[in-house]
Subunit: 464 residues, 2 copies
């Protein structure tokens, strides 16, 4: 039982090195690798070098930065588990969201603070903390002198928060380098901080910008109001016709590609023990909303949606100003489910908006190009079973299978380009405020995450 | 015919001093007296002192700054026309709108530039240029050693662009100081730069801020979209229910106070020679809009309206961000006609919005406090006839009588508190971009304005 001895040694190593593993993560979090802000591009590069060095230290081989037109990819592997052992492709990202608005942070976003059992810092949960779990799990095998039970390839990118423009082409080009049996990503949320979950479905995304223009300049609302169409009022009329008040999208053809949920899927999705009251309380919302013919968990992960993510027009300073603005702008995202295609959805959006737009204004619909298809992973696989076992051993409960509302476009690329199913093994919790001020990561889940991945590598190696 | 000699002398003086009168106005325009921006309050005070000095130089007496809780009023008079001569109360404002967005100005807003026959500067048309016309017209009589044909009181304020909070109480308190036979204001537009107009009706104003809040923090639209009501979508639904696509306001009770237009008024209003194609061309709008059962000129000045003047929510930077924002905000103004009351209109607005607001969000309606009633001035008076004669002598055509869309709350205060009708004798043109970048004032109308006021003072003195 050499494999079991290796597992024990790795688990012991991880337990004994908790403090060092924490300090290293805090150092990683101090680098403000904000990929969306050009003034931080040197910091993004610093984070890439830092990560590569940590991967080398962990015992990974062939570690290198791969330059792109934007921020570099970081790659490393360890392929000595033997020809019969499976290969896992692990993915994560080392870039982070902008921290703004800064005034809402209780401690500075890039000075990690330990409070109430949490690490507070931008990137702690999304995704540096979860990515670093894998580095530390691999290290626990390799520095104890034991072989890894599987072959691993680790790929990290620095452009996830800007829509991964370089990653898709890279995957398409480097099929041999990235060849594997399964992909593994920790960039999703558990159901709660004590309740593990494996996400098997992710929504896709279509994103459009809508610009409404009336006059060639801002006008005085007293002199022109009532005689010139107001582009903000026009935009509001357009938005109000996109979706009814119950959440049904009114764009003709929007639901055409939607694959109906099977009975089994509805059963699995609805097994999710979601405490609606606690869920609402955590976000300060008085009552849930959405398509009444679907349950709350179905609405969250299994139904397509439409949201205005931003709107701006006219005077936005304090108090009032009597301007009839020339222009209004909205950013609208649609989350997609299988088998909706972003291009078709955007085309249907454009056609409909052109049809309902008032004749007195010009309306322009722009595809941001960040679209992705939804993905549903096969959960009847050795990898998913090994992941469920590993979670159960660490958390004392079997994880739930769930579909999730967000989008991780790389999952679709792995499937299409490399033929891989992806195991989404998240360690973040829903209240960890990713993309928002006071992002945090539950410290216990950082340690349990390392243990879970150690056990998963062992279990998957034994099953395969 | 001493009066006629005085008129001739004043006209000659104005003609001979055009260059000096221009240079003084440019100096006035260089002071960035932006009343809405606290960092410019010293500049507003500088402009008040500058104006007082110019009034003293013109020969006005009792010139003084009157302190308020905000920016000072400037007062001066000349009351030597004899007990039988009428007294005119002239009003104007020396504060200006913020110049933002600065990048759209072709020359800096506070460095006046002469191009194509125009003075380009913030405040050139609204209202420093028009206010200064009166100072120069008075000066033309007094420095030539001639008596003014009427008594004059000149009152200028520095808070017009912030809603004149100090002016109403001051007028109510100082009825004796301000007692007069008629009020005169140059702060409206002509029909075109060669076509004078006397505005006899002004719309009133009700202004509200609407805040829609759902969650206690911004949420990830992937994780919560479709299950939590989006406040921007909710706000768009609310706005879309305020007004139909033809321009009819849908708030119950909104039209209750509207006094129907008389046949005579409709006739006078529609005599306005508005060239719709040129009017649209000047503002770059492809087609006019509004209540189809009213003519374009009726919509502009004689009908109540509703406009969203500003809207903001969620992410407003470049590209997209998948946020489900916690909050959305809109600024909404309603232009009122006689006899709508702003308080009643705002109460009807609040009741209706509370009724249509979705139950999943919190909606707050705030009155900005800048409301005013509409005013219609009697145009069958000596003062209006004298004004029409003066315009005709200078411009070679009789001015049109028109109702205008904007609001000048002081006109209502003069009527209610002092019993005065106001003559609105504007010299700005509709394409002079007041409240917008590249505000300008047609230089010829500055000079013609001085001549028109000189002739008006003479003509009104002779009639009364």
């Amino acid at each position: 039982m050499i494999a079991t001895q290796a597992l024990e040694a790795a688990l012991n190593h991880a337990t004994e090195h908790q403090e060092a593993n924490l300090q290293q993560l805090l150092a990683f979090l101090r680098i403000p690798s904000i990929s969306t802000q050009p003034e931080h591009s040197a910091d993004v590069a610093t984070a890439a070098h830092w990560l590569a060095e940590a991967m080398r230290h962990a015992g990974l081989e062939n570690v290198r930065l791969i330059e792109t037109e934007g921020h570099p990819l970081v790659y490393g592997d360890h392929l000595h588990a033997g020809p019969d052992a499976p290969t896992i492709l692990i993915y994560g990202h080392y870039d982070v969201q902008p921290p703004e608005p800064l005034e809402l942070w209780e401690s500075p976003p890039f000075e990690p603070d330990l409070r109430d059992g949490y690490i507070y810092a931008r990137g702690s949960a999304d995704d540096k903390g979860q990515l670093y779990i894998h580095v530390k799990a691999i290290e626990a095998y390799l520095v104890t002198g034991n072989a890894l039970p599987v072959n691993v390839k680790l790929l990290a990118e620095g452009e996830e928060e800007v829509g991964s423009p370089s990653l898709g082409p890279f995957i398409a080009r480097e099929k041999e380098l990235l060849a594997a049996d399964v992909a593994l990503i920790s960039d999703t949320a558990m159901l709660g901080k004590e309740t593990p979950a494996i996400v098997y479905g992710l929504r896709g995304l279509a994103y459009v910008l809508v610009d409404v223009t009336s006059a060639s300049r801002d006008l005085h609302s007293g002199h022109y109001g009532g005689a010139v169409k107001n582009p903000i009022n026009a935009l509001a009329h357009i938005i109000a016709q996109l979706q009814d008040e119950k959440g049904h999208v009114l764009i003709p053809g929007f639901y055409d590609g939607v694959r109906p949920l099977t009975e089994e899927e509805r059963r699995i999705v609805n097994e999710l023990p979601l405490d609606e009251k606690a869920w609402l309380g955590e976000i300060g919302v008085r009552q849930a909303w959405g398509e009444p013919e679907y349950t709350l968990v179905e609405r969250i992960g299994a139904r397509p949606t439409l949201d205005v993510n931003g709107i701006v027009g006219g005077y936005t300073g304090p108090g009032g100003k009597t301007v009839l603005p020339a222009h209004a702008h909205a950013k609208i995202s649609m989350r997609l489910v299988p088998d909706q295609q972003p291009e078709q959805v955007i085309e249907a959006f454009r056609r409909y908006v052109e049809e309902i737009a008032p004749p007195e204004v010009r309306v322009e619909v722009t595809d941001t190009g960040g679209g992705s298809v939804a993905s549903v992973t096969d959960y009847n696989t050795d990898a998913v079973r090994a992941a469920m076992d590993a979670y159960e051993q660490v958390y004392g409960r079997r994880p739930v299978l769930m579909r999730e509302g967000g989008s991780i476009p790389v999952v679709g690329d792995f499937k299409r380009q490399l033929g891989l199913e992806t195991v989404l093994m998240g360690f973040s919790a829903p209240d960890e405020q990713i993309h928002a001020p006071n992002e945090r990561f539950y410290l216990a889940n950082y340690y349990r995450g390392i243990e879970t991945v150690i056990r998963f590598l062992h279990g998957y190696g034994a099953r395969a």
